[in-house]
């Protein structure tokens, strides 16, 4: 019987935890989904798309404050520029997305990261649906990692 390739919460948790422990050395715990959508808070979203034998996207969404803390951990400094924060969040989604891609059928290509930031906005990848999503907390801040799969 043919089964659809799938990335579940367990895989998302393991890949994200590995990035957090090996690269950032920051705390990571399960979180509640609704806290990352609180109104009035600056939120950053990074996304990579996978195209080829499997089509979809990986999205990391967190508060700007957490993105800054991640950048500080990566650059080993408390003072980071907005460009460095975008770079850091892009590299985080690149690492998680690259490892997600490796678990799915190939050959496929991983896009360069795209970043969105602002207050009270929604970002969507048209033609996809949520395959799996995990909510985390790190540094007291909410974060979500979502895997989207293209709908035929």
């Amino acid at each position: 019987m043919h089964s659809e390739p799938s990335i579940g919460p367990t895989e998302i948790w393991q890949l994200t935890e590995t990035v957090w422990s090996a690269i950032l050395n920051l705390d990571l715990a399960e979180g509640a989904a609704e806290t990352s959508h609180r109104s009035g808070i600056r939120v950053m979203t990074s996304c990579v798309q996978i195209t080829g034998a499997w089509d979809g996207a990986v999205v990391v969404r967190c508060t700007e404050d957490l993105a800054k803390r991640c950048a500080s951990a990566m650059f080993s400094t408390d003072s980071t520029t907005p460009a460095e924060v975008r770079d850091a969040l892009g590299e985080i989604v690149n690492m998680i997305g690259g490892n997600v891609k490796s678990l799915l059928p190939g050959p496929s290509k991983l896009s360069l990261p795209a970043i969105a930031e602002g207050i009270d906005y929604q970002m969507s990848v048209p033609g996809t649906r949520v395959m799996s999503e995990v909510s985390f907390r790190s540094q007291g801040q909410p974060m979500q990692v979502t895997v989207l799969v293209r709908v035929d």
């Binding site: 990566m74 080993s76 590299e91 690149n94 690259g98 490796s102």
Partner: protein, 121 residues
Amino acid sequence: MKIMIVDDSKAMRVIVMRTLRQAGFGDHAMTEAANGAEALKMIQEQGPDLVLSDWNMPEMSGIELLRHLRARNNSVRFGFITSESSAEMHKTATDAGALFLITKPFTPEAFQSALTPVLAG
């Protein structure tokens, strides 16, 4: 020895250099390039002993950089540090002349395991 780190992410170049020091390679000179095209020019000018390159970059990818180097008969030791690690990519990398492929996220131990035999040779 001179090690060149090629990655479009400044954050990742910082982390690779930090991990090289943690892995015991801090006494080597390190230089940086932000993409394959910049690296190709710098490699010809500086002649590094080892290139550690990301795969997925704007301007020129890591695999394109390696193929350009080999087409010019440049045999610099070359390894990939990339978030993608499928069997297909390993084969593509080794077929093109790469010595190893380290998967992001990585540890100092992964660097020691991959680089020690390469730098000893």
